[in-house]
């Protein structure tokens, strides 16, 4: 091969690489970025958009803390129910199955109303009865606060967190079940053959592997949780959706309010989704299995 040929080949190679780089480039991120930039310009130049942004921004804290708290609680519920779905104990297994099936069969909006406005008041009523019972048995110290608990004291933010957590717990139960079942059966056998209890085998051998397998799914569910947290605005929880609705209704600036609202959700979820992807890539690179 003479010098000319080799230079040509190199040029062709560089050209091909340039083309694949162009086609691999995440153009969609650029497009969304431009959109976000356009909205950012609007916010900084247009006083109406600016006002809408400043007002709605006040709800970000509620949206984020509600989502985080509800997701943390949903993880606990999901793990407990997920272990129930595969339990050998028929009571535990059926209880978990009932929970998952009921939640899956009801629209999330309806479920949020039901949990916040029917179940929680019902539970408070039950606590009242228990308290009165304790008082009548002479256990005044323990009974009085329970008997005196008033449903109006249970604030809507707390009810919203509980409602979201119960709903997502059922979804996460299925995720945990699938994750546990993705671990080869030989792992449980090896652990039990060493004398570990079922609990120890789950905790030290199965769950660490299962959680690794379901981390991407959990990440996606957290993003969904942030979006679905907008539903708690029906409970008058002052998250960004509720504030945007109130603001739009008051000022009739629907365009400004709901554009800002949509872009806020989009920004949060996109940033999270990119962080998630990065994290997954890093996990895959460090994977030893």
């Amino acid at each position: 091969m003479n010098l000319e040929e080799s230079v040509q080949m190199q040029a062709r190679f560089i050209e091909r690489r340039r083309r694949t780089r162009l086609s691999d480039f995440p153009w969609w991120i650029l497009a969304v970025g431009l959109l976000a930039a356009a909205v950012a310009v609007l916010i900084s130049t247009d006083p109406d958009f600016n006002q809408a942004f400043v007002i709605i921004r006040a709800g970000l804290g509620v949206t984020v803390t509600t989502s985080l708290a509800a997701f943390a609680l949903a993880l606990v519920l999901g793990l407990i129910a997920g272990l129930g779905l595969i339990s050998a104990n028929p009571v535990y297994r059926n209880a978990a199955t009932i929970y998952v099936e009921i939640v899956r069969g009801i629209p999330m909006l309806v479920l949020i109303f039901f949990i916040a406005l029917v179940m929680i008041p019902g539970a408070v009523g039950g606590i009242n009865v228990l308290g009165e019972l304790l008082v009548s048995r002479g256990m005044t110290a323990a009974g009085t606060p329970l008997a005196g608990l008033d449903i109006s004291q249970v604030d809507m933010n707390f009810r919203a967190v509980l409602a979201l957590a119960v709903t997502y717990g059922a979804f996460l139960a299925e995720v945990f079940r699938a994750g546990i079942q993705s671990v080869p059966g030989g792992q449980m056998e090896a652990a039990r053959a060493q004398g570990m209890t079922y609990r120890q085998a789950m905790r030290f051998v199965i769950l660490p592997q299962a959680v690794r397998n379901i981390l991407p799914a959990l990440g996606n569910d957290f993003i969904s949780m942030i979006k679905d947290s907008s539903l708690v605005s029906v409970l008058a929880v002052r998250d960004i959706t509720q504030i945007a609705r109130l603001y739009a209704g008051r000022s009739f600036k629907f365009e400004e309010a709901f554009t800002i609202l949509a872009v806020m959700y989009l920004t949060i979820t996109l940033v999270l989704s990119i962080v998630m992807k990065r994290f997954e890539q890093r996990m895959r690179r460090h994977e030893h299995a």
């Binding site: 080869p184 030989g186 792992q187 056998e189 090896a190 652990a191 039990r192 053959a193 060493q194 004398g195 570990m196 209890t197 079922y198 120890q200 030290f204 051998v205 660490p208 592997q209 690794r212 030893h288 299995a289």
Partner: protein
């Protein structure tokens, strides 16, 4: 024979899967320190029989005794029995999320409640014994099949077991890795630990076994010391099996 001399006793053990009689009325005695090799065609029930010893498969009927104690399905007592039995699987079944060292220390720490440093020393000693001490910090996926199986043996030995069970330990290995595992098992056999080995490796059976048992269709057809077993098999089915496997 007193109970101290017999390490494992099985009395009329049955195990069925659906309509398949995997183990169909097996009784046997493994004496302390014996190397007890079970051979037989695929599906003859030899692995199921082995798994009935530590109740990974709970027998439908019959009794299993280990060191004079009856093995029962009651969880607490069963776990105590299992803690004294080391088991090596065909597929190794190492814990992939843990390092080699952690694989060997885990059960020591949470089952036998051995302090961390002591568990680590035991693990390193056993790794030394199987010849791969330098891999203590590696993850299972970074090891060859033969190395993984040797780690699995070290993991079982770290339980300080009375009995070692081997379920076709070389069947999933590439041919060039079989020897390194068999060598470890041979040297282990010479230490006098009680071993029950399900295998297709006739060379190992000849060299290490005290007793060779031939199983077919869930039953023990023949049982003899290896010299006698391979030179003068009594049963037609045994002769047929040996001629097939030895001429292969």
């Amino acid at each position: 024979m007193n109970t101290h001399e017999s390490m494992i006793r099985m009395l009329d053990v049955h195990k069925t899967f659906g309509s398949l009689k995997a183990v169909n009325g097996v009784s046997l005695t493994v004496r302390r320190g014996q190397v007890f090799v079970i051979i037989g065609p695929s599906g003859s029930g030899k692995s199921t029989l082995l798994r009935c010893i530590n109740f990974l498969e709970v027998p439908d009927s019959g009794q299993v005794w280990i060191d004079g104690r009856r093995v029962e399905a009651e969880p607490r007592r069963l776990n105590a029995v299992r803690a004294n039995i080391g088991m090596v699987f065909q597929q190794f079944n190492l814990y992939p999320h843990l390092t080699v060292l952690e694989n060997i220390t885990l059960a020591q720490r949470i089952v036998r409640r051995v302090p961390g440093e002591q568990a680590k020393q035991t693990a390193l000693r056993q790794l030394e014994r199987v010849g791969i001490a330098e891999k203590a910090g590696a993850y299972p996926a970074q090891l060859s099949g033969g190395q993984q199986q040797r780690v699995a043996i070290a993991r079982a030995l770290a339980q300080d077991p009375d009995v070692m069970l081997f379920d076709e330990p070389t069947s999933a290995l590439d041919p060039e890795m079989i020897k390194e595992v068999l060598d470890v098992m041979l040297s282990l056999a010479r230490t006098g630990i009680t071993m029950v080995v399900v295998t297709h490796e006739m060379g190992f059976a000849r060299a290490a076994a005290d007793v060779v048992v031939f199983m077919d269709q869930g039953q023990i057809l023949e049982q003899a010391p290896p010299g006698q077993f391979f030179a003068r098999p009594q049963h037609d089915r045994t002769r047929q099996f040996l001629s097939q496997i030895l001429t292969r």
